[in-house]
Symmetry: C2
DNA sequence: CAAAAGATATGATAAATGTCACTTTTTAAA
DNA sequence: TTTAAAAAGTGACATTTATCATATCTTTTG
């Protein structure tokens, strides 16, 4: 086993199936030597709004939130997402600088590859280009439709939506630890923190959920779905 | 002049600079023979939500709205936009079917090219692929940031935003004919129709705008900007 | 461990927005 | 041109949501 083989575990990276499927072994190897993995602790910022984009980054493990700061200083959470979603993917080809910030809401590992290298690959390899475009389009589609879904709901519908999102898309479990504060949920669904807290209390009183601090247990998912749809 | 030369005016199409810049004359010619221009009258639907995507389409002239219908039957307007923005561009590479509908809000001309043809080009020609990805990314970025901008504002801020959007981005004029109904504006900014009408009346009373039916004149754009920012 | 800071929780009240009823105006159709 | 239908406009009132004050609980830090 030579050095690059030892250091390189890209051959088993799950992201490979999604975007890098069309690359030959040699290119995968080169990619591997060009990549850098970085760990982020919960709360750490991965990308800053306004910062220059130099790397292609994707989330290998963990959970991140995408957000921006408004003129009045409030935080707008755009989405909260799992691997292997964007990190810098989103405006990487349309902007020179990040439009949004990304922060880890759980300990996360991010894979960095020089943007130039990805761009070269993109120009050379049509299959890779298609895979990447498809991936980026899907991410964008998801963000847009999620935003529209939230927008059409009222307060309790939005809170129900977020709980369902965590239980289904993020944790795939009826019991989970909320990775974000009530305020972050409020910034995500565009409601006040007090009302998010109140709604969670109401759900608790109605026996729809159980709450132990940050731990949430979904008791009546059917009712939650009705609330989310109606709202 | 042969037949294809006669029919083909793609060489002078403005969209060429944006996406097709990297194609040689032969390919442009082929593209031209593969394309079809279609006219739509104000109000006509160009794409239906749920319909299969077979063509790559872009807006050559006119004005369109992108929208979807919610479970409760309401219309959600996602954006209103000018050439050479998407028509089917948006989810063309990520979805088999349209996620959203597109309708002409002014008489419009749309250029159709078989999707297969575009996909082939994309695979073969890296420069074209990059141009297309950049374009699609920019469109998505614009929609997302516009949606976030609107979301952070209150009623009057949102109405002010729409008026500024029309006057600056769409018509580039202080006087313009509203291409959409009050209800469509309401569906766009996520407020009730009555409140949109009321707010326009208030702006009129305050001397910020003049209203003659569908015709709007911006009188005090500075004040409108303050309202849009504050809101 | 103690103190401070931050997050959660809850009630009272104010502000923003929606709904409904109805009139007037404009547009489209017969 | 007349008539019907749709859109615009307005007021009264109901509902939803935000704000503020304050208390408690939790986490961080010295």
């Amino acid at each position: 086993m030579n050095k690059s083989d030892k250091n390189c575990i890209c051959t088993s990276c799950e992201f490979r199936d999604i975007v890098f499927a069309h690359l030959d072994e040699e290119t995968i190897q080169e990619l591997c030597n060009n990549k850098e993995e970085r760990s982020f602790r919960k709360g750490e910022v991965i990308n800053h709004e306004g910062e220059k984009i130099t790397d292609f980054k994707y989330l290998k493990s963990g959970l991140v939130k995408l957000y921006r700061r408004t003129a009045s200083g409030d935080e707008q959470v755009i989405t909260i997402t799992r691997p292997f979603e964007f990190v810098s993917n989103m405006s990487i080809f349309s902007e020179e600088r990040y439009r949004y910030s990304v922060a880890a809401v759980e300990d996360s590992i991010v894979c960095n590859i020089r943007l130039d290298f990805i761009k070269e690959l993109f120009l050379k390899n049509g299959g890779f280009a298609m895979g990447l475009l498809t991936k980026i389009s899907k991410i964008n589609d998801k963000i847009i439709s999620q935003t529209l879904d939230i927008r059409q709901k009222n307060l309790i519908g939005r809170v129900a939506f977020v709980l369902l999102y965590f239980t289904r898309e993020i944790y795939n479990s009826m019991v989970f630890d909320l990775p974000v504060s009530r305020k972050e949920i409020a910034d995500y669904i565009g409601m006040s923190t007090a009302n998010v807290i109140r709604t969670l209390s109401d759900f608790k009183k109605d026996g729809i959920i159980k709450v132990f601090g940050k731990t949430i247990e979904i008791v009546d998912i059917a009712k939650l779905e009705i609330i989310s749809k109606r709202g």
